[in-house]
């Protein structure tokens, strides 16, 4: 498909563009976090904002996550629309009360009479030896607790649309961006994440999954980096005669259970790729969603390719041994496609 005036963006640029466009039309939107002003964010997602909007609306904070994230909650309740950055999702431990007990619950505690229109953006993901406190995904930890929407894009088009939707949402949204997909060359490159992004503002609906690839033999469900592992596996499997459908969740909360169920109803086989820890998380939730449907017949037991329940090791070989990758996904697909119902 030829796009006139094709304009690819990296996810980092797409995020910054969404914020800039919303800040131009709504003076209540402001951004704060560590190193997000002059530096443009350690991961490039606030590039150019302080130059256009100034230091009052694009604020570097001290290293005080509890302070500025709980401040964002208060500001949001008072009519502002803050976009706050938690530099690494792993840092949530120092400030989680402000997130799960305040940001996520104040709408409910007020019976819906106050809104908390804030976005908490945070980096996730490993694979480059940043060890156990800088490499986690923690999807399950955030998705499990009620009151916050959770999104994570696999590509720049979804990144801009989800960020726009998140800023316009009157509920709090956790926007998780995977470091390996940002387009920062020093964290590796994933070309498939850089896609055409329309110049105009647009929203991608929060709570709707996308079919990244259609297929008929097996469904692979994932989010963010896992989607790319699935797509790479799908290419290999195609040559082997296995037709793979890849579901890009895009949102964890709300979770698009209908799309997941429809896909597995069609293929009868399910693999979940989850870079977060194996137990008590996204992979279990997807499998439970399918199993409890009652009208889905599985041709094989569901499989999950997830990080084992161990802290993330520093040594390259150890970390790579644990991480999901296209080879593990393809191997699982071959295995469960071989356990076919006899003709």
């Amino acid at each position: 498909m030829t796009i006139v005036n094709e304009r690819k963006l990296t996810i980092a640029r797409a995020m910054a563009e969404a914020m800039a466009q919303e800040m131009r039309i709504d003076p209540a939107v402001f951004v704060m976090g560590e190193d997000i002003a002059q530096l443009g964010g350690v991961f490039g997602n606030t590039r150019g904002l302080v130059d256009e909007f100034g230091k009052d609306r694009v604020r570097d904070t001290p290293i005080s996550e509890t302070g500025f994230i709980s401040a964002a909650v208060g500001a949001a309740m008072d009519g502002m629309r803050p976009v706050v950055e938690l530099m690494f999702v792993d840092f949530f431990g120092v400030c989680f009360d402000a997130i799960y007990n305040l940001m996520a619950k104040n709408i409910y505690f007020s019976g819906g009479h106050v809104t908390v229109p804030m976005v908490l953006m945070t980096s996730t993901g490993g694979g480059y030896s940043d060890a156990g406190q800088h490499s986690q995904c923690l999807y399950g930890s955030f998705a499990h607790l009620p009151g916050m929407k959770v999104v994570s894009p696999s590509n720049a088009y979804d990144a801009k649309g989800l960020m726009t939707a998140a800023i316009r949402d009157n509920s709090p949204v956790i926007f998780m961006f995977h470091k390996g997909l940002q387009g920062m060359g020093w964290l590796g490159t994933e070309a498939a994440a850089n896609v055409h992004v329309p110049e105009d503002a647009y929203e991608v609906e929060i709570g709707k999954a996308a079919i990244a690839r259609e297929g008929s033999d097996v469904t692979i469900v994932s989010i963010a980096m896992g989607v790319h592992h699935a797509l790479k596996a799908a290419k290999v499997l195609e040559a082997e005669g296995i037709s793979t459908e890849v579901v890009d969740l895009r949102s964890l909360v709300p979770l698009d259970r209908d799309t997941v169920r429809a896909s597995v109803r069609k293929t009868g086989r399910l693999i979940v790729v989850d870079e977060d820890y194996h137990s008590y998380g996204v992979s279990g939730e997807i499998i439970a969603t399918v199993c409890e449907a009652g009208d889905i017949t599985l041709k094989a037991p569901p499989r999950r390719i997830a990080y084992p329940d161990v802290p993330i090791a520093y040594a390259h070989g150890m970390e790579q041994f644990c991480l999901p990758n296209p080879e593990k996904v393809a191997a699982a697909a071959r295995e469960i496609c071989r356990t076919a119902v006899p003709a």
Partner: protein, 328 residues
């Protein structure tokens, strides 16, 4: 409190060891990362936070410490680990992610643990405060000797854990010292933009404890102030807060282009490099001869080279060992 000649020799030797270590680590870190700077590549992958310029703080404090004393450090730990007496071979091997490393490759450069000398470090800002206070509590409860020192950066003084740990140490009168390395930058944010007071020593008043600010990255001055604080702690008189002006000669992490630093700032700092300054003073006041100092430097060179050799020669851990050592 003035350091003895032997102590000065120890301090100089450790500063040089530290710097030589950082210099070779910096070089090896870049292996495999050129021309494409992908952090995942090379014999030392991931992030790297070097302590060049901050050596005086480590030696000025650790000169007073014994193996039984506790030190917690940060994501920029090498100089403190060396000064505390961490096994340099196994530390290097850990940085290389080898099975022969302190944690068998599981921790890496930000998570160095050496129980033999009660040293640990971690990667969340201000995270070392609470555990150091807890170690001090443990010694007090057990009636065992020992003081605990938490090294943090000036940015960490704005983190909640700092306040809570300081308060706890003060209200329970624990043998704890907080040493803040003020290198003026929290990644790209200047201290003046993040902290409403010029110096964090004034915050000691909030806890009813003594606070000191040491200027000029001077090993002698740091030795003096730290010595008094550690003596207080050993005597059961409670905690002290010390902030030390120091210089971060490297970027925040390897690969940091430091575009946020004002022009000329780095050059001015290099002119104040504490190692040649210390050497000059030791020679000028006759404490050591040039030959003696050169000998110390040569010994440091040998030690560092041996550690790097040990690290390079170590075997990589078995990948499946990623699943072990989760529980005791």
């Amino acid at each position: 409190m003035q350091p003895s000649k032997a102590t000065l020799g120890w301090m100089y030797h450790n500063m040089v060891t530290s710097r030589k270590f950082e210099t070779i680590i910096e070089k090896i870190y870049m292996e495999g990362k050129s021309p494409v700077f992908n952090m995942a590549n090379g014999p030392i992958p991931g992030e790297m936070h070097l302590s060049n310029g901050q050596e005086p703080v480590a030696v000025g404090v650790c000169a007073h410490l014994k193996p039984e004393d506790i030190v917690t450090a940060t994501h920029r730990p090498h100089h403190q680990a060396i000064a505390k007496g961490v096994d340099l071979n196994r530390m290097a091997a850990e940085i290389f992610g080898k099975a022969t490393g302190l944690s068998g490759g599981r921790g890496g450069h930000m998570h160095l643990f050496d129980p033999a000398v009660n040293f640990a470090c971690a990667g969340i800002i201000a995270q070392g405060m609470g555990p150091a206070v807890g170690a001090a509590l443990s010694r007090k409860m057990q009636g065992k000797p020992g003081v605990a020192v938490a090294f943090i950066g000036e940015g960490a003084a704005n983190q909640g854990a700092f306040h809570e740990a300081m308060n706890l140490a003060a209200v329970w009168k624990l043998p704890f010292i907080c040493v803040i390395e003020d290198n003026a930058w929290g990644i790209s944010v200047a201290k003046s933009a993040a902290t409403p007071v010029k110096r964090n020593d004034v915050r000691a008043a909030a806890y009813g404890i003594p606070g000191h600010y040491v200027e000029g990255n001077d090993p002698w001055k740091i030795y003096d102030v730290a010595g008094q604080a550690i003596a207080r702690a050993r005597a059961g008189e409670g905690p002290t807060l010390i902030e030390v002006e120091t210089y971060r000669l490297a970027g925040h992490f390897m690969g940091d282009a430091e575009g946020y630093r004002p022009k000329g700032e780095k050059d001015a700092l290099f002119a104040k490099d504490p190692i040649p300054l210390m050497r000059k003073r030791l020679e000028a006041d006759g404490t050591f001869t040039a030959a003696e100092l050169t000998k110390m430097e040569a010994e440091a060179e040998v030690k560092v080279a041996a550690a790097i050799k040990f690290a390079r020669e170590g075997a990589a851990p078995k990948p499946e060992d990623a699943l072990t050592a989760v529980f005791a």
